[in-house]
């Protein structure tokens, strides 16, 4: 019965809106701006996707869903971290929900699919959510795709050098077999191998939940440390089984491993994650007033509604990209006319401050140049937190290498993982 009423009310409301806009085309400027949010509420990154929407909702509530005098309507859609599903949902947002801008997706291969889709669109813009494959913006970029968050390769800036500096010369790398881990492994290897380190790589498809045979191989190898580039349930499975197998090698985590989505799940994996080193665009504890304010607001808003102890990497990336959209809308006073040309120009020129306090600006491919943190997992007040102990400022997509040389290394893949001496 409730559903009936709601549906009828919605239909009436929709009809009313349609009639209104037909009668008075002049008020188009005051019609709401429709932003479609696309994240993963299903599949291995469901918790990260949930947190992304939490953070976006919080920031939209903060500006009262209004910018440049226009209301923002946020339409939620979910995928499961698979590129084909993300593409179908993005089409639904554009074609059926008629959104102006898509904020998303969350995962690497999805980002590449949506980049390609954005090229076919006119007068619509896709702004990344949290996906971090490097080729999304580095090779064959689309004029309609913007990314205010940094990519998986950037997130590893400084980590390979740091591990080498600890005297470790051999590492085992276990990673998911898709676009985002390729980028992360590439970033790590680029520094580590250049300094003379040796790596052995173990790939597993996204969605693997039994890693015991891989763990048995790694534990018998002479690796001085393990670099783990898994996330979500895959990451949790790996860490739990590693703990059960009694592993004791020093651990280095990819950016979605050392994160609240992992640390907030209960289990024996927490014990082995203590002391884990990682790199990424955020940490739980960053000595920065902007970040402290963001965390305090997040906790106030979500503490009683299922929020994490501290915002997740996905939440922060979505918000950073939302800030990019808002900066563009603010500069043009919410004007999306002319196939969004003025809005896109304004976004390309925008300089925003991420929730972490990091300055963000875009390069000529509309890809973020921003700060990267080196982190360690520590015990603070009885719970595990990720603490930033170093910060590399203004890291670009080629890690400071001339772009032609970086492109010459080829696209990151399982057979081209950046380990060039």
């Amino acid at each position: 019965m409730t559903i009936m009423i709601t549906r009828r009310a919605a239909l009436l409301g929709g009809a009313g809106l349609a009639a209104g806009s037909l009668a008075l085309p002049a008020i188009a400027q005051n019609a709401p701006i429709r932003i479609g949010g696309l994240t993963t509420l299903e599949g291995p990154f469901a918790t990260g996707g949930q947190d992304a929407f939490r953070c976006v909702q919080m920031e939209l509530e903060r500006i009262n869903h209004t910018i440049g005098g226009r209301r923002i309507e946020f339409i939620r859609e979910s995928s499961n971290a698979q590129a084909d599903v993300a593409l179908a949902r993005a089409r639904k947002l554009i074609e059926q929900d008629n959104v102006d801008i898509i904020l998303g997706p969350l995962s690497g291969a999805e980002g590449i699919a949506l980049r390609d889709y954005s090229r076919t669109l006119t007068g619509k813009t896709i702004v990344n959510g949290s996906s971090g494959a490097s080729d999304t913006t580095l090779r064959n970029p689309s004029p309609n795709f913007f990314r205010f968050s940094t990519d998986g390769t950037q997130w590893m800036a400084g980590l390979g050098r740091h591990i080498h500096g600890m005297g470790i010369r051999d590492v085992a790398i276990t990673a998911g077999d898709y676009a985002f881990p390729y980028a992360q492994v590439f970033g790590f290897n680029l520094e580590f191998c250049r300094l003379g380190g040796r790596v052995t790589q173990y790939w597993a498809p996204l969605g693997t939940t039994d890693f015991t045979s891989q763990i048995a191989q790694i534990n018998r190898s002479n690796a001085g440390a393990i670099v783990i580039v898994h996330g979500g349930t895959d990451g949790l499975a790996f860490m739990t089984q590693y703990a059960q197998a009694g592993g004791s090698k020093p651990l280095v985590g990819g950016s979605i491993m050392a994160d609240q989505t992992m640390l907030s799940a209960r289990g024996p994996h927490r014990r082995v994650m203590m002391g884990m080193l990682s790199g990424g665009p955020i940490a739980d504890i960053i000595d920065d007033p902007t970040w402290n304010d963001f965390v305090a607001r997040y906790r106030r808003r979500w503490a009683n509604e299922g929020g994490f102890a501290s915002p997740s990497i996905h939440g922060v990336n979505y918000v950073t990209n939302l800030y990019g959209i808002l900066a563009g809308l603010r500069a043009t006073n919410g004007d999306l006319s002319g196939n969004q040309a003025a809005f896109q120009r304004a976004m390309a020129a925008a300089e925003v401050t991420a929730p972490t306090g990091a300055a963000v600006k875009l390069d000529h491919n509309r890809q973020a140049i921003s700060d990267i943190f080196l982190n360690r997992i520590e015990e603070r007040g009885g719970s595990a937190v990720v603490v930033a102990f170093d910060r590399a400022r203004a890291v670009n997509q080629t890690l400071g290498m001339p772009e032609a040389q970086f492109l010459g290394l080829g696209s990151p893949s399982r057979d081209n993982a950046g380990c060039v001496a």
Binding site: L41, A46, T209, S213, L236, Q241, A265, R266, P268
Partner: protein, 291 residues
């Protein structure tokens, strides 16, 4: 050498889990001729319900937390399975396509309800201290005790099913039902009631697999589809409706998965399906299936 032994043991322990889940699927198909596409949903629902019972007890640190979770999960799955048979499938007996579609719909609804109710956070049971940690094995070294327990559970399930089907009156009726339902009914046996019992038993096995599986690997959305697919592959390879066949299928698939992961990780998924295709091409009824 010890690495090879570890990988084989990993394959066998994984096979044990697959066997527990798939045996329920095979049992239901054997008697009822229902391809129960909601089998994965039963795995998932048992895991979540079991966890809801387990977590508060675990927080209070009582020793029987895991066992209580296990019992709750299995019991809930059994009741759920019986309810599905009574309310949905019983009155469309013999209409295979319709039943398959109904169970697919059911599994989608169950998964979405679980997501709405429990959220997307992955959950994992922690086994009681007695079966947690590592056991020293000759030639292998430390090996997770719980994975050995999995083998024990699978063997117990296998022997139990064999005894049930071959040594009890219920088993005789079930086997008679496989061959000729109408004649069994004419002998005065309440066939629909047996159907409900078999469905409850099959679902309980899925539930047992759900709690055991959620102790060995994280429990999250999507596990239903994965275990349904595995059950299908296992019974297709082993032979529909045969307990021994299911065991053979589970061992083949479990070993293939783990050996594949060690030797050629990227393509290990394909190996499973290569086995299935080979079996379908050479022996369509399955390795131990009846023609």
């Amino acid at each position: 050498m010890d690495l090879a032994a570890t990988i084989v043991l990993n394959g066998l322990t994984l096979a044990a889990l697959y066997f527990v889940v798939a045996s329920g699927f095979s049992l239901i198909f054997g008697l009822m001729r229902v391809v129960n596409m909601a089998h994965g949903a039963m795995y998932l629902v048992a895991g979540y319900v079991g966890y809801a019972v387990f977590e508060p007890l675990y927080d209070r640190d009582v020793w029987y937390a895991w066992y209580a979770g296990l019992a709750a999960g299995v019991a809930f799955a059994a009741v759920f399975g019986a309810a599905v048979q009574v309310a949905l499938l019983g009155w469309m007996q013999g209409q295979e396509l319709r039943q398959a579609l109904v169970t697919i719909g059911l599994s989608i609804i169950v998964a979405d309800q679980l997501l709405a109710f429990y959220g997307g956070t992955p959950r994992q049971f922690f086994a009681p201290d007695a079966i947690f940690g590592a056991t020293q094995l000759p030639g292998i070294g430390g090996y997770p005790t719980f994975r050995l327990v999995q083998i024990g559970v699978a063997v117990a399930v296998g022997i139990g099913l064999w005894l049930l089907l071959n040594r009890t009156r219920l088993g005789i009726m079930i086997r008679a039902g496989v061959d000729d339902r109408q004649m069994l009914g004419a002998c005065g046996v309440n066939v629909p009631l047996i159907g409900i019992a078999v469905f409850a038993l099959g679902a309980a096995l899925a539930g047992l697999g759900g709690v055991i599986g959620a102790t060995a690997q994280p429990l999250a959305m999507g596990a239903d589809g994965r275990f349904l697919l595995i059950s299908l592959v296992v019974v297709i390879v082993g032979g529909m409706g045969s307990v021994t066949g299911t065991a053979v299928g589970a061992v083949l698939i479990g070993l293939a998965e783990q050996i594949g992961q060690a030797l050629f990780p990227t393509y290990s998924v394909i190996l499973t399906f290569v086995i299935m295709v080979a079996v379908l091409a050479l022996r369509p009824q399955g390795i131990l299936g009846r023609a």
